[in-house]
Symmetry: C2
């Protein structure tokens, strides 16, 4: 394990992104996103994913200089092409557009096709919440999720998330997928040979299993079975279909570059569109206070992230695994970016 | 069991609503809603709920002549007061407003406070889908749902639903709540002394249970535990907070009439806002075809409803329980509306 200062990690992300061909502003956005997610302290969907981005940029499977193009618009709706750019930059842009539309219309929806892995929902929905908007985002990937009664993987597990300002308190923030467990969490559980609840899905032969390994090789179910499955179908519509991108399991080769199956849809709602900012602050704060008053031990989505963030910022440093540190050092060496730990 | 012709049932609903003081147009809307839901063939959240509405109208706990008032608006957002009207009429109005806003802005959101039980999501989201909009609706009730780790009922179980046009095929339609089981379904299971999966919730002492009766007296969990719970918090925000209505478990007496804790929020998206109608039809149809192609036995949300509807319309009649028939006869006798069965 290596201790690294947060300021050094932030500088590393920004510098290596610039070396990889991103603009200074894009590199700044990437650094913000990776610091925001890493401070949540979950150990996945954060800095641990950075090497995969560096690899993709190096191998040019992701476009380091994408030109986002608006394909279509109507009122508070927009459709864009992400030009096979980093999912993080595409989603940041998508939420910026949704916010701009919501500024004019009270609500805005921006669907973007031809993107890549977006890391997780938190940074983009917080981007909205910190500016006074209720932010919601959906990511579309390949089918990984099934439903009891039908054999096989039918729909994407639909990573989704929201955040809303809560009157002076930290924003409320949820960052989930519609399966019982995310791919990365399950892979870790499988590596540790852990058991999983039998209702999370089935093994490769369609039999109930309590083995994380067998589930990882099998099919995950949506939360609440047909409920999560049904919500995932709406997510497929709002992303792949509305973005003009690839639909469900469609896979299309384009000359030169493979079209990406990933689409994203960002929605923003002006929190104080229907009441004064003071009233919204008071009412949203009252919602969180009433939730906490109903059950002493209750966690509001985001609580754990904010606590982790406060603790890490107080310490000013974070512990990373040797494997991750080694890979960051390796990329840093190749591109002339120092990586400091003690 | 009684066989009743669908045309007779429809006439009965319309006539008795007029006798209860609704306008002809409102009575027509109520008849449409009760026929639409009853033809789904689920046996709850349909005609079986009509006696409770007749009772509420008779006792004047629900306002038979509400005046819906627009309280606030901004771009594609509107906030209304339902004036303690029937939830069905409030939701129908709310979706009409969302559609009108989406016609201009591509997307529209209408939040209404001071409403009553809306029956279920299906009729309102279909109202949107049949006119070329993606419809989404959320209903807010009192807290009935908890989350592991916190004792007690914290949030509403958030009935939600969506429907979208699918290019010539029947609309795709989901009508669920965010608990594993709805209140009415669980009450029936409890009456039949059935067992439930242990992860659906806990008994009144907070212990895991497989008894439907014990669960009905205890606390249901959200689907996917913290996931459904977290989504329900967003639903509380979008309904109670944005509508200006009662927040979470707030209960407020107003002079003369008790304010209702029920709020509704309808969202509509113009399906062909970002592409031609032909392209939307083709793409949405392709989504459903690709889902069916991935697993032979898969059901798309709404499949069962459309099959039941076709079968019932072919037969032209429906079987109702004696208990329900007796209550409809009783109310009919009191208000001079005949009820015919054979």
């Amino acid at each position: 394990m290596k201790n690294i200062r947060l300021t050094d990690l932030e500088r590393y992300v920004q510098e290596i992104m610039e070396k990889m061909g991103l603009t200074a502003e894009e590199s700044r956005i990437m650094a913000d996103i990776y610091m925001e997610t890493t401070k949540r302290g979950v150990g996945h969907h954060d800095i641990y994913n950075l090497p995969s981005r560096l690899e993709a940029l190096e191998r040019r499977t992701v476009n380091s200089a994408p030109e986002f193009k608006r394909l279509s618009s109507f009122g508070a709706l927009e459709q864009w092409d992400g030009d096979n750019g980093l999912g993080e930059l595409v989603c940041h842009h998508s939420m910026e557009r949704a916010i701009a539309l919501a500024e004019d219309h009270g609500i805005g929806l921006c669907a973007v096709r031809n993107s890549n892995h977006y890391l997780c929902s938190a940074p983009y929905v917080l981007q909205a919440a910190r500016r006074g908007y209720i932010g919601f985002i959906i990511a579309k990937g390949v089918p990984t999720m099934g439903v009891p009664g039908a054999k096989g993987k039918v729909v994407g597990q639909s990573p989704i998330g929201y955040a809303f300002p809560a009157g002076g308190a930290d924003p409320v923030m949820l960052d989930i997928c519609l399966a019982y467990v995310s791919g990365e969490q399950l892979a870790r559980m499988a590596a540790d040979r852990l058991t999983v609840p039998g209702w999370w899905g089935v093994d490769r032969d369609g039999r109930e299993t309590d083995s994380a390994e067998a589930l990882a090789e099998g099919t995950k179910y949506g939360i609440g079975e047909h409920k999560g499955f049904g919500l995932a179908i709406l997510c497929e519509l709002l992303t792949g279909v509305l973005s003009g991108g690839l639909i469900l399991d469609q896979d299309e080769e384009k000359p030169g570059i493979k079209a990406r199956s990933t689409s994203h849809t960002a929605i923003a709602v002006k929190a104080d569109g229907l009441m004064s900012r003071e009233e919204y602050d008071r009412r949203s704060r009252e919602l969180t206070e009433r939730i906490r008053a109903r059950a002493e031990e209750v966690h509001i989505p985001g609580d754990a992230s904010w606590q982790s963030k406060r603790e890490l910022e107080e310490k000013g440093e974070i512990v990373l695994s040797d494997t991750l540190a080694d890979r960051l050092i390796e990329y840093g060496g190749r591109y002339g970016v120092s990586f400091l730990y003690h």
